[in-house]
């Protein structure tokens, strides 16, 4: 695999996302900047300037027209992917930790931090796609405070008006996006904070990663755990590879604990696990610090990882990756 190193961030990466075609890669970082890159050669196409704090989360719509971002500057912003212009800005009392578009691009969900007398909140906004996109409604379509452990990650489920959330306690839950009612939960999905949540292409299942050193695949309707991948390091991100039966996991001990343990235990590698057999099949080295975020191109031809070290690494899979059948000729449904 030939890695391409994307150098353009001055601080650690927080999230990376491919557009649906897989030709563009978006990255956001603690350096307040959002970048967009050409996947095939790693050239920087542009930046989205404006945030005054860590950009915690980004998402791009299915048409690569709008980009949404959430930041520690307490704003949620909508950008034009093409021009790099900020089209609209929503302001909150606390930081925005997670953002996501709905399947049909008509809505965005955002999770805001619990702090200084403010409860953690989930808001859903209707996106007005007419005109240039700068005419948005200030008020959310719905707003609620999940009770119990605070939500840290969130996405739209397979059915309309349902949200999947991952919580600080390790809980995952389904909320009604309109009423804020908790429809279903799995209190013991993880034993520690949920760090990432990524859906399968048809949204019928999703993978979560956790500081409890495991990643898990869950059924979107029942929240039942389908698969568990147990590693020896806290995980920050987990992604599902399309076309091949693999999941990609990344993490590593944070910088503070690395100095107190041997460097070897840091293990800043992207791990490939067999999705069905729950066995590790390979590792890719490269980062000098923990891996904070992993994304696989929807086309399944490459993946990218963003690290605490401030680098994004894009790996295009070799032909051997597509030919390899490490467990013989078994037909596996995507």
């Amino acid at each position: 695999m030939r890695p391409i190193l994307l150098q353009g961030h001055e601080r650690s990466l927080t999230q990376i996302k491919f557009n649906p075609e897989g030709d563009l890669l978006f990255s956001c970082s603690k350096d307040h900047v959002i970048n967009v890159w050409f996947t095939h050669n790693g050239e920087r196409l542009g930046t989205y300037d404006g945030h005054n704090g860590t950009v915690w989360s980004i998402d791009v719509d299915s048409q690569s027209r709008f980009l949404v971002s959430g930041s520690a500057d307490n704003t949620l912003r909508l950008w034009s992917v093409q021009t790099g212009k900020c089209l609209y800005k929503w302001e909150f009392p606390t930081a925005v930790k997670r953002v996501a578009f709905s399947d049909d691009d008509e809505q965005i969900v955002c999770v805001t931090e619990q702090r200084m007398g403010y409860q953690g909140a989930i808001r859903v906004f209707n996106i007005n796609r007419d005109g240039d996109g700068s005419n948005q409604s200030k008020e959310p379509a719905s707003f609620f405070n999940p009770i119990g452990s605070k939500a840290v990650v969130c996405a739209f489920a397979q059915s309309p008006n349902l949200l999947i959330t991952g919580h600080e306690s390790g809980k995952i839950a389904i909320f009604d996006a309109k009423t804020g009612e908790e429809v279903q939960n799995n209190e013991r999905a993880h034993m520690d904070v949920v760090t990432d949540l990524q859906l399968s292409p048809d949204r019928s299942y999703f993978i979560t990663s956790s500081k409890d050193k495991t990643a898990r695949i869950h059924d979107t309707r029942t929240l039942m755990v389908i698969k568990t991948y147990s590693t020896e390091t806290p995980l920050n991100s987990a992604a599902i590879a399309p076309l091949k039966p693999y999941v990609l996991l990344g993490g590593g001990q944070d910088a503070m604990s690395v100095t107190t343990t041997s460097l070897r235990q840091g293990k800043f590698e992207t791990r490939f696990w067999h999705k069905i057999f729950e066995e590790e099949v390979g590792r890719v080295k490269g980062h000098f610090g923990p891996i904070n975020t992993i994304a696989v191109s929807p086309r399944g031809d490459c993946y990218a990882s963003g690290g605490e070290d401030g680098f994004v690494r894009v790996h295009h899979f070799d032909e051997s990756y597509f030919r390899a059948k490490p467990y013989g000729d078994l037909e596996i449904e995507d």
Binding site: R221, P242, F277, R299, Y327, L330
Partner: protein, 70 residues
Amino acid sequence: EDAAEESNVSAELIAQRKRLVDEWNAWRIRCRDEGPKRKGKENGKKEEEKEEIEVWIDEVIEQIEEEVVE
């Protein structure tokens, strides 16, 4: 037999893996059948995307030398 030779694993393990794959496939098919029906328009779009995936082009990418600090 070929698979057994290639991966050098016991028949038992192969049977176990086959069972896991069968379970997974059964669950995936159930998800598809029982899951919420998608709009026709979206289905059409999804199929187009799948076709795109099959035409996989191997592009040669510029190699960037990297200094690894030991």
